[in-house]
Symmetry: C2
Subunit: 200 residues, 2 copies
């Protein structure tokens, strides 16, 4: 087995908001979900359920509902550093990736399970790396109107929509946002006590 | 690059509660954290902070505090299917892995950041796969007394202890709990609509 593959995949993956209309293989999407299904979960309840959305009309409906909710959210809730951060990146209430990406993966958590949210997001982490391994771009999009989308997809009450992950081919290369180094984020035995570590 | 490595690592990894006293390399632990640091996060706030605990006295103190809290929790909160599930596996309020594992990784979330919890658990997912790649066993242990441990480690208010991950060499092989198949957990376009998929 080659070395440091997980780190290399993690470094390579960036959050992609612009997708080409190139098709991808449904098998690659299922490969990523198969990987996610191996994640640990509270009492092994495996509280995750996945809906793959490929129907163009349904994607459009989801986009419309989300953009309507996002527009209200942007108008009322966003200010300060966050507003600036979004504007610098040209981000707005518009969510074209919801129709441009060939597939959306809606991920639900069974909230009756212990540590449902934690478990589902570990599974999402697994999935992102598996998608990257297959050369598939992704984004973790958390819609404000999660209940509306749950109902639209016929999902029983008690399951919460945690995230919609558009997957596909990126329209263009994107430089990943910078990340902290070990020395910025890791302490030894106590908060504030750094670790001697030379970044390679 | 070899094929299906992420899936293979995910399949191989099981939650390990029994650790040998064999040392592991701190560099391998840092490799996994370096991988976690590459995870996506809300507005790239990177809300994760990691404390690696190697001091034996500190590990013992953490174990004592957690077992005290677990004992109360087990006596008052656990019943029904969950009690049965735990008993079948010999699980109790005793948490020997907190002293037996050579390192504990305490993972904190800066709760002021957007989607702090979601982001941190994606990073945990990345970390578990990177640990497995280096042959290191792990467990996601979520102590009930997270505030007590935060204070013990000198962590500022506002950071929440999400998980303690003991890492080390497993004492013995363990069979992974069974997982759902694609056909149990994945739908197409609508809840309840299965996908044609033959498990290989």
């Amino acid at each position: 087995m080659s070395k440091n593959i997980v780190l290399k995949l993690a470094e390579k993956r960036a959050s992609i908001r612009e997708y080409s209309n190139e098709r991808i293989s449904l098998n690659d999407v299922l490969y990523a979900i198969k990987t996610a299904l191996q994640a640990p979960s509270g009492a092994n309840k495996q509280p995750w359920r996945f809906i793959i959305i490929e129907n163009p009309d349904l994607k459009l409906k989801i986009r419309e509902l989300c953009e309507h909710a996002e527009k209200k959210f942007y108008e009322s809730n966003i200010a300060g550093w966050f507003k600036e951060w979004l504007e610098k990146r040209g981000l707005s209430w518009r969510k074209p990736f919801l129709t441009d990406a060939p597939y959306l993966i809606a991920v639900f958590a069974d909230m009756r399970a212990p540590f449902a949210k934690e478990s589902v997001w570990i599974a999402v982490g697994y999935m992102l790396l598996a998608l990257e391994e297959r050369g598939i771009a992704s984004l973790t999009y958390t819609p404000p109107n999660f209940e509306e989308i749950r109902k639209l997809l016929g999902v029983p009450r008690g399951y919460k929509l945690e995230v919609i992950i558009p997957v596909g081919k990126k329209l263009k290369e994107k430089i990943k946002e910078p990340r902290m180094k070990i020395n910025d984020a890791v302490y030894l035995n106590k908060w504030g006590v750094g670790i001697e570590y030379a970044e390679s």
